[in-house]
Every structure is written in C-alpha cells, then in structure tokens.
Point group: C2
Chain length 347, copies 2
DNA sequence: TGTTAGCACTCCAAAGAGTTGAGTGCTAAC
DNA sequence: GTTAGCACTCAACTCTTTGGAGTGCTAACA
C-alpha cells in the first residue's frame, strides 16, 4: 500500500497529538484537529490502513491509536530531513566558560536534563591514540616519587609512586631525561616491552625503580582510554508512567546510575548520520532495559579524532524536535569553547 | 508511666517484626512471637500503654501498631549500646587495594549499596587546612605552562595556564624556585595578598604571568575544600513504597542525584557519638526531603584531621544492625588501607 | 490485682456489579 | 470516495458488599 500525502498528514497528527497528551488518539480528535475536513469515519478508514501498514496500533480494541516504533521512526526521519527549516532558537543556553573539562561536562549534562526534562548523559572524550607530550618526575619524600604525564590534548595524569630505595634529586632528573628521550611523542601502543627493556638497559642503576615507574606511566596512559559517564536528571524518567511500573523504571534508573551497558551507546564504526545525531526508538535501542525508551545521541568533537557522546533518554513520546535542538545548541557551544577559545581539557 | 521489662520486650518485638514485614503489627502476632505466653488481650493493654507513651501508633483505627520515630530511637539507642556483643561478621567485604582515592570511594559506596540494599553515599575527605608541599612548573608549549601542586596528604592538583608572553625554560625554573621558597608549607589562608605582593616585587620580569600563576595556585588549593559526593544504589529506595508515591520518591532521588542539601549530612562541631556513628530517624533528618527516611552516617579518617563521611539512607524500618555492621566494616577497611599501608590519596 | 475470654465495633482491602464514555468496524446510502 | 448510523467492545469509574484483621471494653477468673 502507498503512504500518500493524506495518510502522512494523518499519521503526523496522530503522533503529534500523542506526544502532547500521552493518550491514545481517536478518530474524532483527528477529524477535528487535522484541518482536512474529513469525518471521523473517513479517518477511521485511513487509520485502519495505517495500522495495517504498521505505523500505529491499538493498545486494546476500542481504544484510540498509538504510534508504533515504525511510526516514530517515520516521524523522526521526516523531522531530521527538514530540520534546517527550524531556525528559531528561543532556548539559547549558556555554558559558562570554565577551564576544567570535567566541570564543563557536568554542567552540560545538568543543563540538558533541566532543559528537556529527560535523562541526560555525557561521556568524557575518548582519545584512543593519546601521545605522550612529556613526563615530569619529582621527588616528594624519601622513597616517594610524583610522576606527572602530559598527553596530547593537554590531558594531564599523575601518579604517586612508592619505591623501596631513596633516589636523590639529581638522579631523578637523569631518569626523567632518559624517559623523555625515549617516550616523547609515543602512543600507548608504541610503548611495548621491547622499548621498556631498552630503557632499562640504558640505566645503570635503579633498574627496579625504573621498571615501576614505567609500569605506572603505561597504566596512566591506559586509563585515559576509560570512558567516564556523567548523568543527570535520570529521575525525570519517573514522571512517565508508560515506562513501566516502579520496578521496571527502577531497573532502568539503576542501569543508568551504575553505568551498566552504557558503552553500547557509543557510536560504532558505521559513522555518519544527520550531523552525528542518531535516534534510537524503542526496540532499536542497543540496551535491553531501555526498550521502552527513545534515545537520541550526538557526538561532540574536542579536537581532531578526540570525541565524546551526548545522549538524551526519554519516553518514546519525547519531544524529538526540542531534544535535537538542544543537542545541537550544546554541540555548537562545546565547539566554541574547545576550538576557538582553546580550553584546557584535563582528565 | 514506667517502661518496664515486659513493655521493652513487647516494643522490641513490635519493631523487629515491623522491620521484617513492613506491615502494622497486631496483638495476636505478638502474643505468638514474643515468647512471653501472654494472650493477645494482655498484649493489647500493654500496647495501649506504649501508644500512650508515644513509642508506637496506629495508622488508623483497627490496624496494628507501627513504631513511631521515638520507638525507632529507643530501638537504635538500645542496639548501639550492646552492639559490642555482635561479633559475628558473616559478611566480610573486601576493598581491593587500588591506589586512587577516587576509585576507592566509588568502590566503597557501591559495595555498601549492594550489601545493604539501601542508598549509599560517601564524601571525599575534607582537608580544610591543606598545606602546600611543593609546586612544579613546566613549559608545555609557547605560552602554556603546566602547574602541578602537591598538598599535604599527597593530594595533587594541576592547572594548565595560558599566558601572553612566552617564558623560556630557564626562567620558568627560576620562577618555580621563587614560588617554592615563599609558599612551601603554607595553607591557603596564609597565602594572602601581602605575600603575593612580596613575591611579585621579588620578580624582576614576568610580573603579569606570575600574578596569573599565583591566582591559579590559590584557586587550586581552594578547590580542595570542595566536598565531592559519590552515591550508589539510590534506586534501591524505589523498593520501599512507604517512602511515598512515585513523585515523592522521585524528589528524594533527585535530591540525591543532584547533591542537593547533602552537605547537611556532614558532621557539625558537636562531635562524638558512638564511634562516630550517628543515626537520624525520620524527622530528625537534617534534610527535609528525607523526613520519611532514616539516615545512618559514619566518619572515616584518612589521616589526622582529614576526614570524610559515609552515609546510608533507607526507610525508617531499615535493618539498623546490618547497616551499622557494614559501616564499621568499611571504616576498618579504609583505616587499613590508609593508615597501615599508606595508600596514595589524590584528588 | 493481673490476666483472659468474649463480644461489638471499626476500617481497610479486595471483589463484584453496574454505568459511562470513548472508540472501533461495518454497512448502506449519498 | 465520503459519510451517517448502528452495534459492539472495553477501560475506567463508582457503588456496594464482604471478609478479615485488629481494637477497646467488660466481665469473669486465679
């Protein structure tokens, strides 16, 4: 069957109305709202067709219609297409310029949650190929050394190490120089066993301590690949009864709180979509517990190749337009902070 | 009226049974469970007395009795008294020894939540009087300087600074030396305007850059006084319907998620209780949204004067014994990590 | 004097019956 | 192709009933 203009129009009205009210939509309502001047009976016939095509369904006989996942999908795809028409940005948010990445992310995620009334989530950027800019060792106390590593993207890591022997100041400087000579500009992958052996051979003393230091450095760089998740407004989801009873919603919130399976939301290799915006509707969601939700994710870029993900999680009848608008606004602001101003990312 | 032995016994049975079931307790139930061999009628008389004394109440006529806040208070005080008798520690938890304070705290809070099935919260330790151990400046790029500060308690802070002029390596070393000479061993409060002026006068060049660096340092130390809250298992609270409907519980979870008013839980000056364990029951809670909950807090000490707070939030009918046991276990483990082993606290 | 049995009473919760209203599908007429 | 009309369905609400758990009170008992 063909999805002609009139059917599209009716489907749109059904979805919009349902987004507003959260109640099944009946034929009379549409007859009144659609502006098509059709009687409810005609609408009923069309709805019957739409149901057969799988765009809408009845929760039970003698109830109005509700959009199916396929219906939402139609709506969202349509919307993303002529999104450019949307120019009004009544809702300009402001990210204060603070210089700590963590602070910015926390601020953004709260703002998104507050603005949309849905759950909001953001990941720290994932480097994947952080190169070591330099290492700085300092003697703290007897047998304690502070190792500060700066990675590309101005990410700073540090470790306090305890070693058995006490290395005097001047030897630490030597070791520091040795490390920088060999390790500068390398990625984690390039710092392999072989290289570590070479360095240890170079050193005439403190072989043991040097081994520990190298381990710590590798570990610190490795950690940079761990994705941190920040969430906010998860309790907003409690406002939507259609997400299930207390128990189900609880399980959902629990997953969000304990970050269970959230890595599934990170973009795969498949890549491009609408400006990096990806919409998962109901069962399309990569996470089982969220099969009654919709998830909208976007990708922000901190610098070339270093990117993170922002997501909004809400009921299927979420206000997709608003969500997309918010995400775009946030992305442009993050861009402004990182690219132009050149902020100070930091772990 | 006197709270004689028999009344105490009955009150205890009422509370224990209510903790188990969450249902109002009737006279017949007690007559069967108490082991006192009294008829329900006698129990009724006693209960009537207990109600008059304010230890229990009826949610409505012809319902069983529920402990009042005063009743819980009696129970908890009693329990804390002969707590030493409790030796069985069937539930030995293990905190893996990791060397980053943040990781440890997150691990602890999750473990507590998982073990108790209540919401669990932990704060980072509050220094309040961090002294500067040393400062290490490094040149990153043209016009960019990395400042690493180590505070007492091995807390490390860092800032990447952008300055207008490019300071060559050897001058940075000089400035570094200057800073350490003047600032080492001082607390935030001792680094005042006067001192900053003195330092700037000492420097013949780069007055501007030095000013910025000093600002950053002060700010970084200041930040150390910010208390960070980690929570876990907040969704457990959804399991207890007596905490109110969806909306109320939602507000509670929201407060926990956004850390609203949690600083109220930090211990005041009043100080000592049972081994640092403090129990708030219902309306005793310092936070309005938690007036239907009970909160048990404990204080852990990282080193002399540097301490944080652990809290468990649950329904009034929480298993106080178990909660206290868990808190004690965690505290002793934290002690073991920090004091004996000498871990590596870090911001 | 403390304890107990018995009884009338209260109240909640669950189950059932009846009513209402929104909505549908189908058919026949326009 | 569109519409009016009708019979039918079903959730939601209200009202009533019923059963059970629990209480307070009183009178009898040890």
């Amino acid at each position: 069957m063909e999805l002609d203009e009139r059917k599209k129009k009716i489907l749109n009205v059904i979805i919009q109305t349902y987004l507003d009210t959260g109640e099944p939509v009946g034929s009379r309502t549409i007859s009144r709202l659609s502006g098509l001047n059709l009687s409810s009976a005609t609408i009923r016939n069309e709805m019957s067709d739409l149901e057969e095509m799988g765009y809408i369904f009845q929760p039970h006989t003698s109830a109005g219609r509700i959009p199916s996942d396929k219906g939402y999908r139609f709506y969202v795809d349509n919307m993303l297409q002529d999104r450019t028409e949307e120019v009004t940005r009544e809702n300009e948010m402001m990210v204060e310029k603070v210089d700590r990445l963590e602070q910015i992310l926390k601020q953004v995620v709260r703002m998104l949650a507050a603005n949309t009334n849905y759950a909001s989530i953001i990941t720290s950027p994932q480097g994947r190929r952080s190169r070591l800019k330099f290492i700085q060792l300092s003697r703290v106390d007897k047998g304690q050394i502070l190792a500060v590593m700066m990675l590309e993207g101005n990410v700073v890591k540090h470790r306090v190490l305890r070693i058995d022997e006490d290395i005097p100041e001047e030897d630490i400087v030597k070791i520091n120089l040795l490390f920088n000579t060999y390790l500068q500009g390398l990625t984690l992958r390039e710092i392999n066993m072989e290289l570590v052996q070479t360095i240890r051979r170079q050193a005439d003393t403190y072989k043991n301590a040097i081994g520990m230091l190298l381990d710590a450095i590798v570990e610190a760089i490795q950690e940079e690949d761990d994705t941190e998740f920040y969430t906010s407004g998860t309790t907003n989801l409690l406002k939507y009864p259609e997400l299930g009873n207390r128990e189900q919603t609880g399980a959902l919130l629990h997953a969000l709180e304990e970050r269970q399976g959230l890595e599934q939301l990170l973009p795969g290799e498949d890549g491009e979509d609408n400006n990096g915006i990806q919409v998962y509707i109901g069962s399309e969601a990569p996470i089982q517990t969220m099969k009654d939700c919709s998830i909208v994710t976007a990708t922000y870029e901190l610098e070339e190749g270093v990117q993170g993900t922002i997501g909004i999680i809400g009921p299927k009848r979420m206000d997709y337009k608003k969500v997309v608008r918010n995400l775009e606004s946030v992305m442009s602001q993050l861009d402004a902070i990182f690219k132009k101003d050149g902020g100070e990312p930091e772990s």
